[in-house]
């Protein structure tokens, strides 16, 4: 449900960057979305089509890179993807860890004409 606000914010950022570059059209937008954010790519695509109408970003292709929730074990130092219902280190079974990936939510790059 937060996808509407997130897509609007993303579009504003993209349009601002395109204008700064003096571009008239945005062809592609590369986005990085972490698993932990709960942002649904398909939903962003749906809102984007609707919100971008009449802007230089209308018709732009959205390219999503989805990053998994990853952690570093505070005991053995190894990195791993967090399990769905089991938050223990698969190497040493510790449950003391630091989240190091999965919170990403940013525009990586845009292609403009």
């Amino acid at each position: 449900m937060h996808e509407l606000a997130i897509t609007q914010s993303m579009l504003n950022l993209v349009l601002e960057q395109a204008e700064k570059a003096g571009a008239g059209k945005v062809g592609k937008i590369s986005l990085v979305i972490g698993e932990m954010t709960g942002v649904v790519a398909r939903s962003v695509g749906f809102y984007f089509e609707f919100l971008s109408k009449g802007t230089p970003a209308e018709g732009a292709v959205l390219d999503f890179t989805e990053t998994p929730t990853t952690a570093r074990c505070r005991d053995c130092g190894k990195e791993f993807e967090l399990g769905e219902f089991d938050w223990t280190c698969p190497h040493c079974q510790s449950n003391n860890m630091e989240i190091i990936g999965g919170k990403e939510l940013f525009v990586e790059s845009i292609e403009v004409e």
Binding site: M1, H2, L4, A5, I6, S9, M10, N12, L13, V14, Q17, A18, A21, A23, L31, M36, T37, G38, T69, A71, L82, E84, F85, W87, T88, N95, N96, M97, E98, I99, G102, K103, L105, F106, V107, E108, S109, I110, E111, V112, E113
Partner: protein, 216 residues
Amino acid sequence: MEIKVVKDILGANDQIARKNRQLFDKNRVFVVNVMASPGAGKTSVIMETIKRLKGKTRLGVVEGDISSSLDAEAISKEDVPVVQINTGGECHLDANMTAIALGDLPLKDIDLLLIENVGNLVCPAEFSLGENLRILIASTPEGDDKPFKYPLMFHEADVVLINKIDLLPYVKFNVDAFSKTIRGINRKVKIFPVSCTTGEGIEEWVSWLLGRMGKD
């Protein structure tokens, strides 16, 4: 032509949140963002906190709801300044809505501002309001598997209140396992088991909060 951007999508929200924080700091207001799923007890925790802190600190409340002002009306009976934000369908409060609501509050006369977010365990975690403290209320009937389903919320919380512990004999909720799961990914978190019905644990939470206010 490709342009490298590498900018946070919610950067604009974060910028407004920083401005809110400056305003809070200038007026020496300590701000708590109260988050939970619907029915976990956000309003009850706010009411219990108000009852115990009245006379000890000057309070204010922002009530965020998709619609209605039922909660704001209940709180205004406690003679505390309260502002209602109706998000009109949005599932979370954001920094801008908060900034607008702040205009209707006498910030100079408030030491502790409690902001009740919209009932939701996903979206509010993304949107900073400029708060000093993020608290998450998890109630025992919701089950103890919530951290696995909403990891971001549990990762971001400074405090987790386990509410409705008076119902523990009747529901499947293991307080120790639940706390251990959260602490595994969130070392700084403070956890308080409470019941707004019996009052158990509320004093501990409120005393801790008062102590924490002095530190920011």
